[in-house]
């Protein structure tokens, strides 16, 4: 059963491929609670949609992991939301 602490670095690493911030910079934003994907990471709607691909890759690496779909990512506002979502999917929870 993967935990959020285990998933967190993988999700932050996934974000380093989509924004121009470093791993350390994103982690600092997450720890400070200033990790809004639009306001703090500068992502538009389409790159946020595309996070479904890398988050699915993370979730499905675990036995029983299920895909992270575009509609679920759209409901996330922050990197922290994405960590929680990916943790649920990695544990096989399909919704919400």
């Amino acid at each position: 059963m993967p935990t959020a602490a285990e998933i967190k670095p993988k999700v932050i690493d996934a974000f380093t491929h989509k924004v121009t911030l470093s791993y350390d910079a994103i982690e600092a934003l997450v720890d400070a609670g200033n990790d809004d994907m639009f306001a703090d990471l500068g992502m538009g709607g389409q790159p946020i949609d595309s996070m479904a691909i890398s988050l699915t890759q993370i979730a499905k690496a675990y036995a029983g992991g299920v895909p992270v779909l575009i509609s679920s990512v759209r409901k996330c506002n922050t990197v922290t939301d994405c960590i929680k979502l990916t943790t649920r999917r990695a544990n096989g929870t399909k919704s919400p």
Binding site: L41, Q46, I53, S54, I70, S71
Partner: protein, 299 residues
């Protein structure tokens, strides 16, 4: 050129809606989010898919008042994923109306958008990845002014890449985003309502949109400038499309003042120059003030 103006009515309407809505997402917003429902200016024309739905009253000096309505509603219906990709299917309905005598428009579209995103699933550590955003659209179209009823389809491609600001704003006080796009479009129309001949057209389209948040840190994201240019190269024109120019273009610029933190409601000043064959919008130059509404998430 035409200009606006019952500004007081717009402000009153905007303030009323914002007072009802508040800054916190309402149960109505929650309902929209849970069901994947989005409200935008257009879902068929991707250059306006991030623009809020708009209702404008135009009162030209020495001319008759007119109204424009641009609204599109879509609902996420089906989705899935595969290695290195993700997709979703969005049924949609959209309506565009302009009562101005010289640029009448009355177009209803109903159909679906299918989005597919691809990217390298295993990029090198620390390296930004190119993502590829493909969208397939098909719709029934009822254009009561120009071409009558018919069907339309399009396939568009948008590259996403943060270092070039392709679909990414970056950080800092001055933020901007570029959205380049190419598309292949086809449309067939018959003579059922507009009295025109049957016929079809295929189009190549190129467009770019620039979104700017000039004072992001100081005014949050409440002030937005959108500048867009679209150009269509029409091929194999027949029937109601035979008189279309070989080359059509549209320039738009909008200044939006969002009235709430979640960018749901806005007052917008819009400038339009050119024509939009996809939405049946005639060649025109218009400046207007609009009340705008973008529901189902600000992204």
């Amino acid at each position: 050129m035409k200009t606006i103006l019952p500004i007081r009515s717009l402000i009153f309407l905007s303030l009323t809606i914002c007072a009802l809505a508040g800054d916190e997402p309402s149960s109505f917003d929650k309902f929209l989010e849970d069901h994947g429902i989005v409200v935008r200016q257009s879902l068929a024309n991707k250059n306006f898919n991030n623009e809020p739905a708009a209702i404008s009253w135009i009162s030209p000096q020495g001319g008759a008042d007119s109204t424009t309505i641009d609204i599109a509603i879509g609902m996420n219906a089906k989705e899935g994923s595969f290695t290195g990709g993700s997709w979703n299917l969005l049924p949609k309905v959209e309506y565009h109306k302009n009562t101005d005598t010289g640029s009448k428009q009355d177009t209803l579209k109903a159909g679906f958008n299918m989005t597919c995103i691809f990217e390298d699933p295993t990029p090198p550590p620390g390296q930004q990845v190119w993502s590829h955003y493909l969208e397939l659209s098909a719709a029934y179209k009822d254009d009561r002014i120009k071409t009558g009823q018919g069907i339309s389809g399009s396939l568009s491609y948008t590259p996403l890449y943060a270092p070039l600001h392709f679909a990414s704003y970056g950080t800092g006080n001055f933020r901007y985003m570029l959205t380049p796009r190419i598309a292949l479009l086809a449309e067939h129309a018959n003579d059922l309502t507009a009295g025109a001949l049957s016929g079809s057209v295929t189009r190549l389209k190129a467009s770019v949109e620039l979104s700017v948040y000039p004072f992001f840190k100081t005014h949050a994201d409440g002030i937005e400038v959108l500048v867009g240019y679209q150009t269509w190269f029409n091929q194999s024109r027949s029937g109601p499309f035979a008189s279309d120019k070989k080359h059509q273009e549209l320039f738009t610029a909008s200044l939006n003042f969002y009235l709430d933190r979640d960018q749901r409601y806005a007052l917008g000043l819009d400038y339009t120059h050119g024509e939009n064959p996809e939405d049946g919008q005639a060649d025109q130059t218009v400046t207007s003030l609009s009340f705008k509404m973008k529901l189902g998430g600000k992204k």
